[in-house]
């Protein structure tokens, strides 16, 4: 082992260890953070950016922890040694370096962040508009072009969809994990969310903003289908064979016998 704390061999060994750990940690992080199905074009953009972030996290975590652990082993006090450590109070060049380099990294990631944001929020010319209404504790989806209303969200694959959303009571949040993107529904205003489903399948739209008693069960089914099936579904709905709609959230808490917020308030 080199004696001096500023011996170059320390830095070479630590550097190699940091590199190895970064690779291992990157693999580990991506294993313990499994993303749901990549179900939309927006998901591809977001997952790409997430992946870069995770690699950066792996590197920075390794950098700090490996150097820390290296110090703990190499520079630990020997038994009976009461002397002091090497006296250096700081290094201005180093301080400037680890201020400026992170600053550059911040701006690089900021740039990619802005680009990704404009990608995932960009409007497409041929959008399907759905008016989404949230209420305690259910969802209502209305298709203004065809006048169809439903408690189930059905969308064609590979076609941009635009949710124009509002809430009847408290704040809710529209989230289909497979589509990645999320947007709050605020009473008194209309918010917009765009996504383009890319994989057919059955998903759920979950309320992501605490909205009272049955927030946990404010979930509605989502089906992403082929264009033809979507049109057929719309036609069936327009013909009036639709089942009755849930207009209030009362049925969702039938399994619990506690008071709803509204009841408690009127006491």
């Amino acid at each position: 082992m080199p004696k001096s704390a500023t011996d170059i061999r320390h830095f070479i060994i630590a550097g190699v260890l940091v590199a190895i750990t970064t690779v291992l940690l990157d693999l580990l992080l991506k294993a313990i953070l499994p993303m749901p199905v990549q179900g939309s074009h927006q998901a591809q953009v977001i997952d790409q950016l997430t992946s870069w972030h995770l690699t950066l996290i792996a590197f920075l975590f390794s950098l700090v922890v490996v150097i820390m652990l290296y110090s703990l082993f190499v520079f630990r006090k020997k038994d009976g040694d009461e002397s002091e450590g090497a006296h250096f109070e700081g290094n201005t060049v180093l301080e400037i370096a680890w201020t400026v380099i992170p600053l550059i990294v911040v701006f690089v990631f900021g740039f990619f962040g802005v680009r990704a944001l404009s990608d995932v929020t960009r409007a497409a010319p041929d959008e399907i508009t759905v008016n989404v209404t949230g209420f305690q504790w259910s969802w209502l989806f209305e298709y203004p072009d065809s006048g169809v209303a439903s408690n189930e969200l059905v969308l064609p694959v590979d076609r941009a969809a635009r949710m124009d959303m509002t809430s009847r009571d408290v704040i809710h949040s529209f989230w289909i994990p497979e589509m990645r993107v999320k947007q709050d529904l605020v009473p008194g205003m209309t918010t917009t969310l765009r996504f383009t489903p890319s994989v057919t399948g059955e998903y759920t739209v979950d309320c992501a903003e605490l909205c009272g008693l049955s927030h946990y069960s404010m979930v509605a089914p989502v089906r992403i289908v082929e264009q033809a099936e979507y049109e057929q579904w719309l036609a069936e709905r327009t013909a009036g064979t639709a089942p009755a709609l849930a207009q209030t959230g009362d049925e969702t808490d039938a399994d619990t016998d506690v008071e709803t917020d509204a009841d408690a308030q009127s006491n």
Binding site: E89, L117, V186, E209
Partner: protein, 616 residues
């Protein structure tokens, strides 16, 4: 000695009497102004809360001296334990010694941390399996919300404890600048905590963020929360005011700003935020309270109000609040690290200024909590960039800590272990931040368990671990005895891996689609295993903290006598006897060197005599 001679007992009685009087007052004024019906639960309870809190303060005696001043009576400061009563009783009543107040803050903080943790353990157990085991959605939501504010109040108290005990000692001051205000600022927390716990009786379900309209429509328990937070916030404001004056005006000769112990810098930065931003949450919670009481439509769209306005007001405090929580802890890390590295703090000025930088940038980032809220889209990018910028001063701290350890002579007693644990845990919290600050990725992660994991890592790394490190480190100075080293190490080795597991587990289930604050989840998500791990980890942490409390109580009686300076620290508080005497410094001290010049033979930081003697 009777029970009545304890200020706390008188305070609680005062609060009960005041509560009844407040309710009566509201009923009487409704009668006077012709309101119908005369009995209305909510205004009556609010009246009870307000007058009850004043009743507590009168009962405990926090206002006694000021009332005397108003009548022109001089009140000399009383030093030492009360006459004719056992010394321990001073901890249960108004006492003006900053060390007593520091202990009062700290112990109340630990108790409240335990209560907050207990709520977490209860609903964590419920989450270990899908379906409802022993909670229903209503009490799940209440416990979840209570966990939030109980833990946050505990953190504010813990910070108050460290700051009050350590700052005057570290700058060689006899006491805080305003001892009576100091006692008042502590005691106003107690009726606040009692009020907060009373909310359990009525329930509330908004989480700690209490967004309207939910918090306006929900049960009356919200009122208790609003006013409890208001009282605790008032304590923050007055306490920080006191600390700023103490730090700026009561330093000894020779202690320039850049010769202060680094913890004092951290407290200064924290106090700047507490003094100013806290007003916003007080105001926002008052507005909520009055929206409920008088139908004032601040946040009600039907009356032209805006729910999003609340989020702006709330986060303008609550984001900087996170820096209030972590900056003192980071100061503790910087303070303890050089002692056990036997090396100067690397880049002292950079660390000091990075605290101020974090505090200032912290005022410009609140909008990153609102990326999905529906505010103007043009706000997303500026808030994203400003938030990412916080990484720069935070990075300076991490790298400087590494520079401090590199080439030192490191030893690892319990306080040092907790400091190292804090660095590793805060690193998890810090590094999971930029991905949430980046708007595009946040659209996915917002309001998921990933955020829960990130936040808890930040708070454990920035507050809980350093707080425990501080407790172990200054325990010999407080009690004069050593804690049990073996138990301390067991505490560390149980808590740290458990916390890593918990943190990564929370992030993992969050990415898999687990939303925040849900009482039950779909087993199809596949997150049950993760939740079981997190729950086991939670219990392990709870057990390890109980071990620490046992250690602290037990060692106060049986621990080995510590001596004045068991850590060979240069800081002034270690140059005086342990436990610290009533008057900390026998004579005013003079600063003659740098605080962290370990490794220079015969250099000292302080000269334990006044300036004139130092010149000799």
């Amino acid at each position: 000695m009777t029970l009545w001679s304890l200020g706390l007992v008188r305070g609680v009685v005062g609060q009960i009497v005041g509560f009844a009087a407040g309710m009566a007052l509201v009923i009487a004024s409704r009668l006077l102004f012709g309101f119908d019906p005369v009995w209305n639960q909510e205004p009556a309870l609010v009246g009870g809360i307000i007058i009850g809190s004043i009743g507590f303060l009168i009962g405990v005696g926090a206002l006694t001296d000021w009332f005397k001043w108003m009548r022109g009576i001089e009140t000399p400061l009383h030093h030492g334990p009360p006459h004719g009563r056992p010394a321990w009783t001073r901890y249960f009543g108004v006492d003006y010694n900053h060390k007593v107040i520091g202990i009062q803050y700290g112990v109340t903080g630990i108790i409240l941390l335990g209560i907050g943790g207990m709520f977490a353990v209860i609903f964590r157990t419920e989450l270990a399996a899908s379906g409802f085991q022993f909670l229903n959605p209503s009490n799940y939501n209440t416990y979840l919300s209570m966990h939030g504010w109980a833990a946050l109040a505990a953190i504010l108290l813990g910070i108050g404890g460290m700051a009050n005990y350590l700052v005057p000692l570290m700058i060689g001051a006899e006491d805080m600048a305003f001892p009576r205000l100091n006692a008042f600022a502590f005691w106003i927390n107690v009726p606040g905590i009692i009020t907060l716990l009373m909310s359990l009786n009525y329930g509330w379900d908004g989480g700690w963020t209490v967004y309207p309209p939910l918090s306006v429509l929900g049960p009356v328990g919200y009122q208790f929360t609003f006013w409890a937070v208001f009282l605790i916030g008032l304590s923050s404001i007055l306490g920080s005011l006191n600390l700023i004056v103490t730090i700026l005006r009561m330093r000894p000769p020779g202690m320039s700003l850049f010769r202060m112990p680094i913890f004092v810098w951290a407290v200064f930065a924290t106090s700047l935020i507490q003094l100013t931003a806290t007003q916003f949450i007080g105001q926002a919670f008052l507005m909520l309270s009055f929206e409920r009481l008088l139908g004032m439509g601040f946040f009600d769209p039907d009356k032209g109000g805006a729910p999003i306005l609340f989020q702006h007001l709330f986060w303008f405090y609550s984001h900087p609040a996170v820096y209030i929580f972590v900056l003192p802890g980071l100061g503790i890390i910087s303070e303890i690290l050089p002692v056990f590295s036997r090396k100067p703090l690397f880049g002292y000025r950079w660390i000091a200024l990075s605290s101020i930088a974090i505090a200032l940038v912290g005022f410009l980032v609140w909008g990153h909590h609102m990326f999905t809220s529906g505010y103007g889209e043009y706000l997303r990018v500026p808030f994203m960039i400003s938030t990412l910028l916080v990484a720069v001063p935070t990075g300076v701290k991490f790298f400087s800590w590494l520079g401090t350890m590199w080439g030192g002579k490191l030893s690892f007693p319990t306080p040092m272990l907790f400091v190292l644990g804090a660095i590793s845990v805060f690193l998890i919290g810090g590094l999971s931040g930029p991905i949430l600050a980046t708007t595009a990725t946040d659209l996915f992660l917002h309001d998921t368990y990933f955020v829960v994991g990130h936040f808890h890592a930040t708070i454990f790394g920035g507050f809980v671990f350093p707080f425990f490190a501080a407790i172990y480190f200054w325990y010999p100075k407080i009690t004069g005895r050593m804690y049990d080293e073996t138990l301390g190490k067991i505490h560390f080795w149980l808590m740290t891996p458990a916390f890593w597991t918990m943190s990564l587990g929370q992030m993992s289930v969050g990415v898999m689609g687990m939303r925040r604050r849900i009482a039950d989840y779909d087993p199809a998500l596949g997150v049950e295993f993760g939740h079981v791990l997190v729950t086991i980890a939670g219990f392990t942490i709870a057990f390890s903290v109980l071990l620490m409390i046992y250690n602290l109580l037990h060692s106060a009686e049986t621990g080995r006598v510590a001596g004045n300076n068991p850590w060979r620290s240069r800081s002034p508080e270690w140059q005086i006897p342990s436990p610290a005497p009533e008057h900390s410094y026998a004579s005013p001290i003079t600063v003659v060197g740098e605080p962290y010049d370990y490794g220079i033979p015969n250099s000292t930081y302080v000269h334990m005599a006044p300036l004139a003697a130092a010149d000799d």
